[in-house]
Symmetry: C2
Amino acid sequence: MAYSIAIERTSAPKTKPEVSRIGFGTIFTDHMFMLDYETGKGWHSPRVVPYQPITLDPAAKVFHYGQTVFEGLKAFKTADGAISLFRPDMNFRRLNRSNDRLSIPPLDEELALAGLKTLIGVDADWIPAEEGTSLYIRPFIIATQPTLGVAPSRNYLFMIILSPVGAYYAEGINPVKIHVESDYVRAVPGGVGNAKTAGNYAAGLKAQEEAPQGYSQVLWLDGVHRKYIEEVGSMNMFFKINGKVVTPALNGSILEGITRDSMIRLLTHWGVPVEQRQISIDEIAEAHRDGTLEEAFGTGTAAVISPVGELHWQGEKLVIGGGKTGELSARLYDTLTGIQRGTEPDPFGWMVRL
Amino acid sequence: MAYSIAIERTSAPKTKPEVSRIGFGTIFTDHMFMLDYETGKGWHSPRVVPYQPITLDPAAKVFHYGQTVFEGLKAFKTADGAISLFRPDMNFRRLNRSNDRLSIPPLDEELALAGLKTLIGVDADWIPAEEGTSLYIRPFIIATQPTLGVAPSRNYLFMIILSPVGAYYAEGINPVKIHVESDYVRAVPGGVGNAKTAGNYAAGLKAQEEAPQGYSQVLWLDGVHRKYIEEVGSMNMFFKINGKVVTPALNGSILEGITRDSMIRLLTHWGVPVEQRQISIDEIAEAHRDGTLEEAFGTGTAAVISPVGELHWQGEKLVIGGGKTGELSARLYDTLTGIQRGTEPDPFGWMVRL
């Protein structure tokens, strides 16, 4: 189905930054995609417009009741000069699952993808080509009705903004040290932990801030028993124990990561056994003690893989794999980034070419 | 201490609505208060300006990570024509507790109160005088830094907007029917349930939407054991059982309501025993069965008291007090609204005159 997406081009293109100097999500491209929703009328008026501030009533529900969802994915300039997206259908499907949990009306996933492709086409020369770089894509929906009653909004705005990002590992893939959080809780079954919504991230800032010096992220334990592993920072978590890979099962309180799914499929494809189940921090500490904890890593869109070199748990420091990147972590990282850049075969048809 | 608050008056005052026709939080006054924050500079530039849309970068952190807090309180035109606020110091103190949980820099509570008083002075003729009406006050803070890294913002905006509200009980105080929620969870200790932040409200919309027909609000049970009473909708909950009043203790996952505190102090002042403790839904069902459950009510700024005439719990309907407003609920409502309107003595010095 073809969609009619209006395009208004900027008359004042910005100067593009030097890729080596850009961080994450600080520079935005020349255009953005917008789509409005109004009860009774549905989603309407898809358009690409110059990147610009948005104007909202101070009573807009997003400011007060946090009715908002978002996604994060990437576009790549491949080795042969083409532009491709990594599994964008998965992101828009998850966006609709988040919408459902947040009482936001569902989006036409094909229209969202068409909007994204149109936007990327307009801003194609913003996609960096250097190894390890990409164009980070942030679709999001905010509730805009300006009334203070606690009820779902009658108006929404769906937007996509784009940000060129430099290499996550400028000096090679590097393990991080993680603090296992025992005071704060990220989410609990019955809550919104498996939705990609703003409140989950606001809730996590304090723990990050209070983590001991040197620990860049926190590992969340479940909110009921306070012992089962949930996520690390905003990444899913994997452990390699005695030749097997284990990762927390999708239990309703962790995010259904698309990189997580991709890792599981790659590992299965390679014949590496993967278990999705409950994993307690005690099991990890025990595997560390008896020498069977071989690797640990987080997975997410931004870093792809973040090897964990040390876990800090109740005063104890569990050094994993000598604090170095494990072999399997490196292989997963190289394979997935290779698929994304078109230098490795894509056996699952994950890449969508523009 | 005197603060220098700039005032810019509107050149186009709006027509004031008929009070009988205004709902909750849909009409706003002619002006609003603003205060900016920048890391290194602190909170600065307090000002009253015409009520108007605000302009934000689409990457502003509030849209993506929900770093935001708010408050709700009321101003009244008292029987003698004066303007007074109900316990505003409590709201700004709680705002700072919420700020701490959400990694937002603390606000000067006296400056916030001075800003509120200045704003209300400018919009004084917007305060309705009819019995049961008031001016609803919504202070809130949003994170405005336009970057997508998950970290506390370096910029914030504190605002106060005002909304005249009609009588909550236009036809006399009226009990509500409440559905006891058994699937969704509002909050859990270690989370943000005791902070007044947007994400808590977004998380609750779905349960409200899915509650059976006829039940206007849900009663939340705790997220760990799924049996202890937390809150009802966005109100604190009280029960009168066998002559004693019980209300859930402040356990870290329920909001520390200012109306809740006021009710406890009034009851204690009257010699009615009040217990703040864990209360299971089974205890309530048992008290209902043996005839000792005399009254139930929610408390909050908007309604003051919302008597509960029926609880719906796992298919069973617990009708309370014959579905009518209880004597104690009515006395609490009459006394507190009388204090607010200046027709009853104010033994605790709660009202702050402008």
